[in-house]
């Protein structure tokens, strides 16, 4: 069925179609639509689930972990400060290997206070052990959440689905909404491998000594690395039901490209238009969208940049004292097998600055010529900075 929906409404619809059993959340702009409408849906009895209105995001994640330990399919959503407030419980949830799925609406972190799109909130949580997926459009939001449940429950790892604030959360698009019967075929009810059970008592979140700690963490790392492959398999199965692909990386016009522009989230649309525009000028340009940041899709990056001589990364985030976080990731990924590629990292579009064709083209020209308005700060070049 075709429907016009905002990204937040697509997320709500996906949670409903996934038949989540527990929702525990605290409202925050721009996520609020998701949790309010889920409360309505559950309140009206359209979704058989427990809705826990909690006093904080920390509790939201803690209760999602508990509900998931009890064997429930669990959902929450947050943004920015709320995600930061969850930080401790993000480690806990991933360490406990419970398949919680969360939507995060990427919004700038204070101070200064800002409600608009910025990826630092979720990228600064990349080491918590969660799977991280960055959506490109509203259809991607709906589909990725359904895929995320199948992946999370197979890998026993929590998945964070990231939506750009306002560009995705509050922009309406025409979507193809799958029917419930087919979703049920794709995503059967969650059957926990191990759960809280009075008839089989066990302790979760155990105390663990040095004897087993490394082994447990090694398994977490190994199983996280395997998720890139699991996601692509599950996405292929999703494609067989719904005829839409959602791979971990998406390359565009890359076959003969010397120059590859890398980005995440909604900016990829403007990046692809930039590729088309610069191709008209005769530049051999392609682009790569990293849909997944954790696990880092190393093989996809290697394939897409096999012929590139120059890689440009647009970061809507920063790791202070270093550079854009995606640029760091890309450099680390290329370092092992490519000594002959140069990487230029831009910090652009943070805190609500639009990333458009007109803002990206000058950055590409600056990357090639070395001359432009973006100012250097360490290893990255910053756009939109006052002179």
């Amino acid at each position: 069925m075709k429907k016009v929906m905002m990204g937040t409404e697509a997320a709500t619809m996906a949670a409903k179609l996934a038949r989540v059993q527990v929702v525990s959340a605290y409202p925050i702009t721009p996520q609020t639509v998701i949790v309010e409408s889920l409360a309505d849906i559950i309140g009206r009895g359209e979704l058989k689930a427990k809705y826990m209105p909690v006093e904080s995001e920390h509790t939201a994640m803690a209760s999602c972990m508990g509900a998931s330990m009890a064997g429930a399919r669990t959902f929450t959503a947050t943004s920015s400060q709320g995600l930061a407030y969850m930080h401790e419980m993000l480690h806990f949830t991933a360490g406990e290997r419970v398949p919680v799925v969360m939507v995060n609406c990427n919004r700038a972190l204070a101070a200064p206070w800002n409600l608009y799109c910025d990826h630092t909130d979720s990228l600064s949580q990349r080491d918590t052990g969660w799977i991280q997926y960055y959506c490109a459009d509203a259809q991607d939001v709906l589909d990725a959440i359904l895929i995320a449940y199948a992946v999370a429950e197979q890998a026993l790892l929590p998945v964070m689905i990231n939506l750009d604030a306002f560009y995705l959360t509050h922009t309406s698009e025409l979507l193809d909404v799958p029917d419930q019967e087919t979703v049920d075929l794709f995503l059967p009810p969650y059957k926990a491998l191990s759960k809280l059970d009075v008839d089989d008592p066990k302790t979760f979140s155990i105390v663990c000594g040095a004897d087993l700690f490394s082994s447990i963490k090694y398994k977490h790392q190994r199983d996280t690395l395997a998720v890139a492959g699991i996601w692509d398999q599950v996405a292929e199965r999703y494609n067989s039901h719904f005829n839409r692909l959602h791979p971990t990386v998406e390359a565009y016009r890359i076959e003969d490209a010397d120059l590859c522009i890398v980005g995440i989230g909604t900016a990829i649309g403007a990046i692809r238009q930039t590729v088309d525009r610069l191709r008209e000028e005769g530049l051999k340009v392609g682009s790569l969208r990293l849909a997944m940041i954790r696990p880092f899709p190393l093989e996809g990056l290697k394939r897409a940049t096999a012929k590139a001589k120059h890689v440009i990364v647009i970061d809507r985030d920063v790791s202070y004292g270093a550079e854009g976080i995606v640029a760091q990731e890309v450099k680390a990924g290329l370092f092992e097998h490519r000594g002959d590629v140069s990487v230029t990292g831009f910090v652009a579009g943070i805190g609500g600055n639009d990333v458009t064709v007109d803002t990206i083209i000058p950055l590409v020209r600056q990357a090639i010529s070395g001359d432009g308005d973006a100012v250097e700060a360490g290893m990255s070049l910053w756009a939109e900075v006052l002179p």
Binding site: G95, E96, L156, S194, T203, F204, I206, L212, S215, K219
Partner: protein, 400 residues
């Protein structure tokens, strides 16, 4: 005891880090340096009771609805509760801790209620022996002594030269003791302890040989014989409250000055004297090889600071009225009063300790009204002792 599971390979590790099996192998008891001792202590009321009755125990039984059990516990220390419930000056009540919250438990009324129950109860008795005891005089001391000897299996005969049973109690005004109450109390005592009672007995104190021929021991009850009665030659004087043991065939009980002559409000003292004398007599008469039954009584007094009165709510107004009401209480009022007892020093299975133990090492002990500590796992944190509102649990250094 489940043994520790050792994970040998990565594949044995559960994906979700959870426990495998139990932690029972981990005997954390050896972390402990002080140990919770769960032991009933003497409540202030019991400490002040001349007969040492474990009052919270029988009130606890009544509170649980086991009224027959309550009576049995009471009779084990006081075979004449209907009389003490009317006559005793009840020093127990002056020490009642409940006073600090609202007002004392009406222990005397509770005794009277239990005493006046027209029910027989099963009490603990030893097997019958062939040893015979004759008690001369059926006053409260003689009856009490006869009761406990009867319960210990001796063949007891109570002889009273008077035509009326009860000794010094007989002369009391009907306002203090209704005649029917006296006979009911004595009848139950005799029935339960399997005693033979003869009134109007003709005793020739000049021919003591006749008496000693029929009994291994003869006891002369000062509360059952005339005040001017003087012990015959050959009788050995014995004060039941002294440490001395019983010797000789005829015991003439000598009471301390405060108890002679007989004073009705001191009845509990005479009952205690009878019980102490029974113990001495039993020690003297007991066939070789038969163990002395040990009294199941707490020995240590409860530390009053361990009764956490702030944790007990005040009673409703109903419990505050009617305490002066004449007559015998009905069951409902008695249950209401029993529920007010703080059960000082006496475990009543409130299970506060069980709820609060962070390691679940203190648990109800099967059928008993008691909790037991799993010393293999108790770390000695002391939370149980802190949480016990009635001073039953204390932390003790067991290393010395």
């Amino acid at each position: 005891m489940q043994t520790k599971i050792i994970i040998q390979s990565l594949s044995e590790l559960p994906t979700m880090p959870t426990t495998i099996g139990t932690m029972a192998w981990n005997q954390t008891g050896d972390w402990r340096y002080v140990t919770p001792l769960v032991a009933d202590k003497l409540a202030p009321c019991s400490q002040n009771c001349p007969a040492g009755i474990p009052i919270p125990r029988y009130l606890g039984a009544v509170n649980r609805g086991d009224i027959g059990g309550g009576l049995a516990l009471l009779l084990a220390h006081n075979p004449l509760p209907g009389l003490t419930g009317r006559l005793c000056y009840h020093p127990c009540q002056t020490k009642c801790v409940r006073k600090k919250i609202d007002q004392t438990i009406s222990i005397q009324k509770m005794e009277r209620f239990l005493g006046d129950l027209a029910t027989d109860v099963t009490i603990e008795k030893s097997e019958k022996t062939d040893r015979r005891v004759t008690v001369i005089g059926s006053g409260p001391l003689g009856l009490s002594c006869a009761f406990y000897l009867g319960c210990r299996g001796y063949r007891v005969v109570v002889l009273d030269p008077s035509s009326q049973v009860g000794g010094a109690l007989v002369g009391l005004s009907p306002g203090k003791i209704e005649p029917q109450v006296l006979s009911n109390e004595i009848n139950r005592l005799i029935r339960l302890a399997d005693i033979r009672l003869e009134t109007g007995a003709i005793i020739d104190f000049a021919k003591l040989g006749e008496l000693t021929a029929k009994a291994d021991l003869v006891i002369l009850d000062p509360t059952g014989l005339p005040e001017d009665f003087s012990a015959p030659a050959g009788a050995v004087a014995c004060n039941p409250f002294d440490a001395e043991t019983v010797t000789g065939g005829i015991i003439s009980v000598k009471l301390p000055q405060n108890l002679a002559p007989f004073k009705a409000p001191m009845i509990a003292h005479y009952i205690a004297a009878g019980r102490l004398l029974a113990r001495k007599a039993s020690d003297a008469l007991r066939p070789a090889g038969l163990a002395q039954p040990s009294p199941d009584l707490p020995l240590q007094a409860v530390n009053i600071d361990n009764i956490k009165i702030e944790r007990f709510p005040a009673s409703g107004p109903a419990a505050e009225t009617e305490t002066k009401q004449e007559g015998t209480w009905d069951r409902e009022r008695a249950l209401q009063e029993a529920a007010r007892c703080l059960s000082c020093g006496t475990c009543n299975l409130c299970l506060q300790c069980v709820s609060y133990c962070p390691d679940a090492t203190i648990r109800p002990d099967g059928e008993k009204i008691a909790v037991a500590v799993d010393l293999d796992h108790c770390k000695g944190c002391g939370i149980c002792a802190y949480e016990c509102p009635r001073g039953v649990i204390t932390m003790e250094d067991m290393s010395v």
